[in-house]
């Protein structure tokens, strides 16, 4: 009996084609391709409108401006300037995101002229009362997850790979994310987020993709629906600009005080 199964196992090994890969390897390769195709943009700016909606359909809007600096081999640096709600206008948020360790974050409060370094272990916390967690908004890095390819599936006529991402960051708010990746463009079309109890928590849909610099695809709408509380947040992104000449020094803490 034992020797039979050994023979069977050997047979399976020998007969498998040399290029066969596990679901984990295939998932990783897809993630690597996603990251590779979206690298080299250097820096970018964008304006962002967040429309928060509660269960009753009541809306609240936030206006933000964002600046990004691509960082090789680590998470990107970002600067967020708040224009609305008006009581927080002028507030600026500087973040150096990291794949496996807490981000470095500073908050500038213009009324007090005070820059506060804030603890950021809570990447799973909500961003500005929205359905987006901080970790949902930070840049995609291969090192952030372990991967597993599940199947091929179409989303609204777009052929996609379905890949599961398992966060490596210990304080992540998710056990896994199921990502639908466009097979031809290697960009996310839809993400399902599963909470720490592995229940479906949120679905994020990327819409209105446009290509920039003949290479980089950016979704102009991102709709996050929370299935557990019935709330949703729509991000409307506008006026993308790439390679604007932003430098590392523009993302220094000392620079927060002179931003506008």
């Amino acid at each position: 009996m034992q020797s039979n199964s050994l023979v069977l196992a050997l047979l399976v090994l020998i007969c498998s084609p040399a290029f066969a890969e596990s679901a984990e390897e295939k998932g990783l390769k897809i993630a690597q391709e996603v990251e590779f195709r979206d690298s080299g943009w250097k820096d970018a700016t964008v304006t962002l409108k967040m429309i928060l909606q509660n269960k009753q359909g009541e809306e609240s809007t936030r206006l933000l401006r964002l600046k990004f600096l691509e960082v090789d081999g680590d998470g990107d640096k970002s600067l967020t300037i708040f224009d609305s709600p008006r009581d927080v206008s002028g507030t600026a948020f500087l973040s150096f995101s990291h794949a496996l360790t807490p981000d470095d974050q500073w908050l500038y409060l213009p009324a007090l002229k005070r820059t506060k370094r804030i603890a950021s272990a809570n990447k799973s916390g909500p961003f500005m009362g929205s359905q987006f967690a901080y970790e949902d908004l930070s840049s995609f890095e291969v090192a952030k997850y372990k991967y597993k390819y599940i199947k091929d599936e179409e989303v609204d006529g777009t052929p996609c790979f379905v890949v599961e991402n398992y966060p490596n960051y210990e304080h992540s708010g998710y056990t896994r994310q199921q990502v639908w990746v466009d097979k031809s463009r290697y960009i996310p079309i839809k993400i399902e987020f599963y909470d720490r109890k592995n229940d479906l928590l949120k679905t994020l849909a990327f819409k209105k993709y446009k290509q920039y610099l003949n290479k980089y695809w950016r979704a102009h709408e991102q709709l996050m629906i929370n299935h557990q509380n019935g709330k949703s947040t729509l991000l409307v992104l506008d006026d993308f600009q790439f390679q604007t000449g932003l430098k590392d020094s523009d993302f220094q803490k000392a620079n927060l005080k002179r931003l506008r």
């Binding site: 304006t47 928060l52 509660n54 609240s60 809007t61 206006l63 401006r65 300037i81 224009d83 609305s84 709600p85 008006r86 009581d87 927080v88 206008s89 002028g90 807490p102 470095d104 007090l112 002229k113 005070r114 506060k116 370094r117 804030i118 603890a119 272990a121 809570n122 799973s124 916390g125 909500p126 500005m128 009362g129 304080h171 020094s249 220094q252 803490k253 000392a254 620079n255 002179r258 506008r260």
Partner: protein, 405 residues
């Protein structure tokens, strides 16, 4: 004073012609707020010559006008401030919080005019922060500041930021009127301050600061030479009445502030060493803020703050302080909801006299432009040797409704 208020109104009416624009556009930007507030005093005043109004309303306006040049190298900022107060004629005041020109060129910037600067990391006491004078009629927590004339140079380097200040023109601390609440046991003779320097209010002060971030550490080192922002209040007999006369000494002060940012814990320290008010003294405040994220399976964060305050100044030679050997315990609740609801509650306990000072703050955003805030300041079991003794019956709650432009 009235004239100031009128000119602020004139400024505001011109400002209202400018629509609020996205701040990234070159040109004009208009922001700021107007607020209606009322103080509710819990008890009758301790002294017979204080007004006994329990409800004390006021109106506040603080518009902000910014012009940025096309190349973004020049920026003009104007922030006038005015308050109308029903009962405290000193609290009814106007100030230019900011009126300055900022020039930015790469890693260098120069600011000329009236400005505001904050240094420090701790929550219960701001020891290192010394550039701006405290506007103490606004609130007794020392967070409100008067605009300070300055010439400031900032140089941002890879090895840290160096700031140098020339500060011409001294601002006197504001104090409540002689018949107002929160004035203390004795009337302060605000019209006749005494300066150690013969230059008086026109003494030119200097300051430098070095600040840097090293990994999880944010560090600041500062030096100030000039007129003390804290006056000594000297009892003086004038017209057979005892008044407290503010004495502004010449001091120099070395300051250090440091924060270590851990995963959920912030470790904070501020230290100063001051010369010029009797013997050299040191003071420090340090502690931690620990945050429980998503407390009780909610979206809310609960922060627990502990700080210890120490000050070895000699109260007969230096301005008196309540924070000589005190503990601060505080808690901050952030609901992370659509209204950005926050609560902050704290208590400062003197280790020797057991005098306590309670503070609560809450804020709730009603809509894009409207916000409601609540503040409470209370004393408990104040020892008659504590400087809080004079305001022991002035516990109050402030309710504020603000419209942000």
């Amino acid at each position: 004073m009235k004239q100031h208020v009128v000119s602020v109104l004139a400024l505001l009416s011109t400002g209202l012609l400018f629509q609020a624009t996205p701040a990234d556009a070159e040109g004009w930007d208009f922001a700021g707020y107007v607020a209606a507030e009322t103080r509710l005093f819990i008890n009758d005043p301790a002294y017979s010559n204080q007004r006994d109004d329990r409800v004390s309303p006021s109106l506040v306006i603080e518009p902000e006008l910014v012009y940025e040049s096309n190349n973004r190298q020049y920026r003009f900022t104007l922030v006038p401030f005015a308050r109308w107060d029903a009962h405290d004629e000193e609290r009814q005041h106007a100030d230019l919080r900011e009126a300055n020109l900022l020039y930015i060129k790469d890693n260098l910037d120069v600011l000329a005019g009236i400005g505001k600067v904050f240094w420090g990391v701790t929550e219960s006491r701001h020891l290192v922060d010394i550039i701006n004078q405290t506007d103490s009629v606004e609130d007794i927590d020392g967070e409100d500041k008067l605009g300070q004339p300055m010439l400031r140079l900032n140089v941002i380097n890879d090895w840290g930021t160096v700031s140098a200040f020339v500060l011409p023109g001294f601002r006197e601390r504001t104090f409540p009127a002689h018949d107002a609440r929160l004035r203390g046991a004795l009337v302060i003779d605000t019209d006749n301050p005494v300066y150690e320097s013969s230059d008086g209010q026109s003494h030119i002060d200097y300051a430098v600061r070095y600040a840097h971030t090293l990994g999880q550490w944010d560090l600041g080192l500062s030096y100030f030479d000039g007129t003390s922002r804290e006056p000594r209040l000297i009892p003086t007999i004038k017209n057979s009445q005892i008044l407290l006369v503010p004495h502004y000494d010449q001091i120099n002060q070395l300051g250090l502030d440091a924060q270590y940012t851990g995963e959920a814990t912030l470790w904070k320290l501020e230290l100063i060493s001051r010369h010029g008010q009797g013997r050299r003294f040191v003071a420090g405040v340090g502690g931690l803020e620990y945050t429980l994220y998503g407390v009780l399976n909610s979206k809310a964060d609960l922060g627990l703050i502990f700080e210890y305050q120490y000050d070895d100044r000699n109260p007969s030679e230096a301005p008196a302080t309540a924070a000589d050997d005190d503990f601060f315990l505080g808690t901050r609740l952030t609901l992370n909801d659509i209204s950005d609801t926050t609560f902050l509650a704290g208590v400062i306990i003197d280790r020797h006299t057991h005098s306590t000072f309670y503070s609560v703050e809450a804020a709730y955003r009603i809509s894009n432009n409207w916000k409601i805030e609540l503040e409470g300041r209370f004393t408990g079991g104040v020892d008659e040797n504590d400087i809080l003794y004079g305001i022991r019956d002035d516990d109050f709650i402030t309710l504020r409704l603000a419209y942000f432009i």
